[in-house]
Symmetry: C2
Subunit: 500 residues, 2 copies
């Protein structure tokens, strides 16, 4: 094999893998959007075949040989090719270090755990889920040691979900958040409350859908390449490449803000994905680099832009047009305050901007202590409830609304939560940097997102997965990541709204 042939084979291989990805994503997407309810098993059968086929393609001897050959000649590869080979080899190295029987047993465990978690959540019965969760933590501890015997297992998993992350960084970050946000939330509780009356009421689904399309166009999504559907839980997915992107939302008739901010949030993910360089399509560099950077974009649009005063100003006429009864008397200030109401609550995904990170922090602390052997899985619910009381001041009525609420652990995603909070914090620092050259508030108020999008495309989106999250942050910020920028952003906003 010549190097030229190998480079060409690398592109063909990635195109194939992307096509399988397309197939599996669209089967999943179809299942969540339009499939008749009795068809899950049929989809599972096809997904089983396709995932086995793509697994063989990704990790088979021919692929390993190709990637090792390219890796041996990396001095002669482009920056893009080097990163492709690195990312593809990483997955193979991971699997090579796992005993195959343990890997298969774990995959099986996760399928069962997901099923048991659903039932446990429905009946608020943690005891049912407990043995599975114990096995998951045990396996993850063991798997981390197979990969890197020297490394702390929790550090291993934090780094897996956000390259460069570890406990030290998390401790510093969450420590700063805890110190400033916990007293802030307590102060808000004693301040004069704001009303969210205008966003509650009766909002017909077809009008909410019109609003969704208005918002997608407003923030600059290309509707020729980004589709909208409805699902139980909103999500974003690429089909094949960033040239076909889908977002979903869920309409609640009694609350217009849920779908509104879902669309802007998922729209942020979609802007990031679709902003990849076109030549990255059908390669592993296509789309966002990590969960953390992805959330930095989605939460940037949802919160930093979407929950700004300027945004309330630019959407007010549309809200009045679509929902005259609800918004005829609502001022820009009323809308701005309504969508920024701070209220400690039980469910992470429904939390406001200020309390959100504390939900994440609680999960981080619990995961860390379990990995360190300081906390037993059995004691998780009690500890969960204690921390919600301590940080958010609320009582958890049952495990369904507590420790069983998230699907992550049953899916083996331990070490994943922190990236949500880091993403929010990255976004605040991006804003500070962006404001050096872009009049962000004015752009938003004028409904002119082009300069904002151009800045993000230039600095972040176009690169896809070419840089690690840490490299990307360095390039964008030109300074170290500083959680205080985020804390100060939140404090200023609270001051603006609650006067405290």
């Amino acid at each position: 094999m010549t190097l030229k042939e190998a480079r060409s084979a690398l592109m063909t291989l990635q195109e194939k893998i992307a096509a399988y990805g397309h197939a599996m994503s669209v089967i999943y997407y179809d299942g969540s959007t339009t499939a008749p309810k009795g068809t899950a098993a049929n989809r599972g059968r096809s997904l089983g075949v396709l995932s086995e086929e793509v697994y063989k393609l990704q990790t088979g001897p021919k692929t390993v040989k190709l990637l090792e050959f390219l890796d041996a000649h990396k001095a002669r590869l482009s920056q893009e090719e080097k990163r492709m080979v690195f990312l593809m080899l990483k997955e193979i190295r991971y699997l090579q270090k796992l005993p195959m029987d343990e890997y298969i047993a774990y995959e099986k465990l996760l399928v069962e755990a997901d099923d048991v978690w659903h039932r446990a959540k429905d009946t608020s019965d943690f005891a049912l889920f407990e043995p599975y969760l114990e096995q998951i933590f045990d396996t993850l501890r063991r798997f981390a040691k197979y990969q890197d015997p020297e490394k702390d297992p929790y550090d291993y998993w934090l780094n897996e979900f956000e390259e460069g992350l570890n406990k030290e960084k998390c401790d510093a970050f969450f420590g700063a958040l805890k110190e400033r946000l916990v007293p802030l939330i307590a102060k808000i509780g004693k301040a004069e409350q704001v009303s969210d009356a205008c966003i509650k009421g009766d909002f017909p689904e077809d009008k909410q859908e019109e609003l969704a399309h208005f918002l997608m166009k407003l923030i600059g999504l290309d509707l020729d390449h980004v589709g909208l559907s409805t699902t139980e839980h909103p999500f974003t997915t690429s089909l094949g490449s960033h040239l076909d992107e889908r977002i979903t939302t869920h309409y609640y008739r009694e609350d217009v803000s849920f779908s509104m901010f879902s669309v802007v949030h998922e729209g942020g993910h979609a802007l990031y994905d679709t902003g990849s360089r076109d030549e990255f399509a059908f390669t592993v560099l296509d789309g966002g680099v990590s969960m953390g950077i992805h959330e930095s974009q989605s939460r940037f649009y949802e919160n930093i832009l979407g929950r700004s005063r300027a945004f309330a100003y630019v959407i007010q006429p549309e809200l009045r047009k679509l929902f005259p009864k609800n918004f005829a008397k609502a001022s820009v200030e009323d809308i701005y305050k309504a969508v920024n109401r701070v209220q400690p609550s039980l469910i992470r995904t429904e939390a406001d901007e200020v309390t959100y990170s504390l939900h994440v922090m609680i999960r981080y602390e619990l995961e860390k202590r379990i990995f360190a052997g300081e906390l037993k899985v059995h004691d998780l619910p009690a500890e969960w409830n204690r921390l919600y009381k301590e940080y958010l001041g609320i009582d958890v009525p049952d495990d369904k609304h507590g420790v069983l609420q998230d699907s992550h652990w049953s899916g083996g995603l331990v070490g994943y939560f922190p990236s949500y909070a880091f993403g929010s914090a990255y976004g605040a620092q991006f804003l500070k940097k962006m404001k050096e050259t872009v009049d962000v508030d004015r752009c938003v108020a004028e409904g002119n997102f082009a300069p904002i999008n151009a800045w993000l495309r230039e600095n972040i989106w176009q690169h896809g997965s070419l840089y690690t999250p840490a490299e990307l942050l360095d390039r964008v910020l030109g300074e170290a990541f500083d959680p205080m920028v985020y804390v100060e952003y939140l404090e200023a906003k609270v001051k603006d709204i609650y006067g405290v």
Copy 2:
């Protein structure tokens, strides 16, 4: 390889092929239903990869070896396995007899021809399409000779699309139709016309969708396994297996009957597919055996049941509920007559039950004469227009509404049209047979489709592709196919409605 291993490998192979089929079908389905409009090229790229992968799987040396081994031991295979091996080998044998360069050139020609046909149709410019159509006919003549040098090329292609069909059978069939239907249509033209006023008006899409679901349930579709979406052109597709079936419709605000009969027509296809034995799922025996039998089912539901007086009776209350303005004063008789209005028209897919077969017959005659060298492609438009005048009494204003209307020829589907007409005729003979044991009119009038569906499931649906169309007809009818049953069915209906 032991026989036991080979039999097991046969099932695994089919499951894989079905999973690829699932992937490609759902990508196509997504493209027709919800995909953003700028994403076709992205889908094409993935479809290209997946179709190449499944092609290698279907025709690769490992597959050939397996199938030839099983074929050599067919005495020890079950009836089902024998048919599987036969069907899978058939496709391989076909390809083995074609020079690879000619096959590739033809695939390329079809891609171009499809594009050119679209443009030619838009601008009503047959000259643009003519050289491509000439090449398609030439290639098909050559390919037929490669397959069977002794056989007449058109007979070869007729048999490809409907096993057992040839010119002799078509001539007899269309001859009988022509002799009786052409004068019948002329008589209708002179008779008192019926009104279709009640089905024309303004019918909101959401109400039409309600009607669609009502009809799906009425004819006995299992909505847990059959979904409904909207597309430009209605179609039916299975995803993976008959356990996940989708039909589509198109709502015209000004005409309630289009979607109504689309749903019942596609519903007939879906009933046939979903009626396959469950153990046929993920095998080549799953779903209907041929276009002709498939159309016999769809057109049975659409026309024989759906355009019966009993059907008008059973749907009248629902029509009145959903569209009170339009149907408050419409009697069962008004509805029955409105949906059975006979009117010679230009477009095959919009033709009524009586004139439909003549549209097909015209295409058959033209194809036959081109294959026989009696007609040049260049002279097709003039000949097309002449036959429309002769048989249907109408003038074709341009090629867009004439010879360029169908997509079949640009896709290489020559010899395909007759199966539409045969399907209609099979249905009439099935009805006659069914009436020996089922009180069809009473069942329909009572909205009790179970006995009808049970009869069709027992006799046709459950067998999937196990029997050839000819074998299936023999089993169901116990007598020879007789086109006069269909002619008499149409004549009786016309008599009932027009009194002529």
